[in-house]
Amino acid sequence: MSETQNLTIVQAVRDGLATEMALDDDVVALGQDIGANGGVFRATQGLQDEFGDQRVVDTPLAESGIIGSAVGLATGGMKPVPEIQFSGFMYPGFDQIVSHMARYRTRSRSRFSLPMVLRAPYGGGIRAPEHHSDSKEAFYAHEAGLKVVIPSTPHDTKGLLISAIRDPDPVVFLEPKLIYRAFRGEVPEEDYEVPIGEAATRREGEDVSVFTYGAMTRPTLEAAENLAEEAGIDAEVIDLRTVSPLDREAIVESFKKTGRAVVVHEAPKSGGLGGEITSLIQEEALIYQEAPVKRVTGFDVPVPLYAMEDYYLPNAARVEDGIREAVEF
């Protein structure tokens, strides 16, 4: 048995980065305030002391520059791990993400692949100012050439981050900052991979499948437990972990078992992953369907400032309502 540590998600990010940087000299981390400051969330705390300022690099304040120079570093044979301080600040670098990071393999006929991991804390619930709470994973999931990973446990965070760094293709790695420090979990000290593209069943159930990821995994599990106790509803909770490529098989298999589905995400409803999952179920498992697929999501509004933020984010109560509607249809 390997040794484990009891870590939070943000500590698991740090541990994953440190583990892979120690194993692979080509890995460089770059971003604003990630050096001496250790990142605004301390995800890179102490890494500069450990690996030096050539491998853990404080950059100028420039998102396009950070992502674009990481594209260049990757063409030169490095494995850059750029950090954008908040996912809501990725937009100035959006052109680099979709025009270059996603398409370099295609454009160069695989002469260049970009083994880079673009990390950013994402999502709401931490009482942050405007733009700091966005949940726009659908932008990146819509973009061919990218993989989009969103962990929800410390164990997965380290394993998925290591997989992402080792992946020959570019990965957008969105870290749910609401649960950066919400709980701890056992994390092996050694290096290990959690495969990209594989969902995890967090709770087995027979009555309804609930598909979620990131910070919403917690209120979803809470709702499932409440309903099991109060209403005898046995919900299966699937944590997608990767939103592109989706684990379509896991989604379809769970749905075939239960015939009912709820999708929970904090991103806006329209054009979100919920629609994609609903379509997938229609395409692959229509004859198993017992009820319309229910989406419990954020609203099609900018994430409100924090006095109203709690109304925006799906919570266990809303998830319970969604599950009941799917089950009682």
Partner: protein, 368 residues
């Protein structure tokens, strides 16, 4: 004082418009000088044929380079074999010098993904169409050499005058200065960003002076003087490799020149610029200028010029034949090179589409 340490308004020139020597001629042997001339003629002829192919419907939209041969060929000759070139989308001439077959350039603009097949030993990053976005890549690429200890490698990054208005120009140049990377930023100031003149891109006196804001040197060169361009680029690359203790590795070169034709074949420049202006710049044409110098020096004569013209025509003919003989790509190629490993959903999309192609036949999908 080196050539590049000067006021950015003090433009470097070696040959005047008539090919007379007005500056320090770079140390190049006769064979190289003839070769520079030949590659300029090749680029011009290729360009004329490419525009004509587009007009005949044999090629898609194409960005012409005529007028910019001095800047492209002169700068590319300054690169060493291991150096890299980071192009925009108009560097067909510079790319040939670096070893990209003309056929590839034709295929790319004929809409063939195979046009992106760059020979392994041609150190060229792929064509970048979004303006200025390749500048941060160039900074990052050169930064990777520093991190990996490739001390002798340097690169050149091409972009136009319009690119200097973009955020990525600023961000890439700023990164290059902060990390002191061995990259030469080569601005092809051809006076017009589609229809907007250089004066409407910036209120700055010169583009070269922008380098000062990033802590390194900027130099303006007559971009229609291939020898001046060579000289400036060669010195900038030398500095990138081996700077003095008090100087940074990057340089920004502003090569002042003119695009004789349209921005692309989809553009009509007669709408926004005067014939008079075009004629003024045509008088500065880099090709007759170099030819006059080489003839004066006894390096070229009528016979050699006509031999070069014949061989250039033949080379372009062959490239066009080869490109036009390229078989149409198979539909499954669309799904290649997106990921290292095809994700299951994409595999399913591909398989369903190929079934459909099998059922209906390829012709049912093609609009001729």
């Amino acid at each position: 004082m080196s050539t590049i340490e000067r006021d950015p308004e003090n433009r470097v020139q070696v040959l005047d418009e008539d090919g007379n020597v007005v500056g320090d001629v770079p140390d190049l042997d006769e064979e190289t000088l003839r070769s520079i001339y030949r590659d300029m003629k090749l680029s011009r002829h290729f360009d004329e044929r490419a525009v004509s192919l587009q007009r005949q419907g044999r090629m898609g939209t194409y960005p012409p380079l005529s007028g910019q041969e001095g800047a492209q060929i002169g700068s590319a000759y300054a690169l060493a074999d291991d150096d890299w070139m980071v192009p925009s989308y108009r560097e067909h001439g510079a790319a040939v010098v670096r070893g990209l077959p003309l056929k590839q350039t034709l295929l790319y603009w004929m809409g063939y993904e195979a046009g992106n097949d760059v020979p392994e030993d041609a150190n060229i990053l792929p064509v970048a169409v979004p303006i200025a976005s390749q500048i941060p890549h160039a900074a990052g690429l050169a930064w990777s050499w520093k991190l990996q200890g490739h001390d002798d490698r340097a690169g050149i990054c091409y972009f136009g005058d319009g690119a200097t208005s973009e955020g990525d120009f600023h961000e890439g140049m700023n990164f290059a200065g902060v990390y002191d990377v061995p990259m030469v930023f080569f601005c092809n100031n051809n006076q017009w960003a589609i229809s907007v003149p250089r004066e409407r891109q910036t209120a700055a006196e010169t583009l070269a002076q922008k380098a000062e804001a990033y802590g390194f040197e900027g130099v303006q060169v007559d971009g229609m003087d291939p020898l001046a361009v060579y000289k400036v680029t060669q010195e900038a690359l030398e500095k990138a490799r081996d700077p003095d203790t008090d100087e940074l590795r990057p340089t920004m070169i502003e090569a002042v020149q003119y695009r004789f034709g349209a921005h692309t074949t989809a553009d009509d420049p007669t709408v926004y610029r005067d014939d008079e202006e075009v004629e003024e710049w045509k008088a500065k044409d880099p090709i007759p200028r170099l030819e006059a110098y080489l003839r004066n020096e006894g390096i070229l004569d009528d016979e050699e010029v006509s031999d070069i013209e014949a061989s250039v025509e033949q080379q372009v003919d062959e490239a066009i034949d080869a490109a036009e003989s390229e078989p149409r790509p198979e539909p499954e190629e669309m799904f290649e090179h997106v990921y290292a490993e095809l994700p299951p959903e994409l595999q399913a999309q591909r398989d369903a589409f190929l079934d459909s192609v099998d059922r209906h036949g390829k012709d049912a999908f093609l609009e001729e």
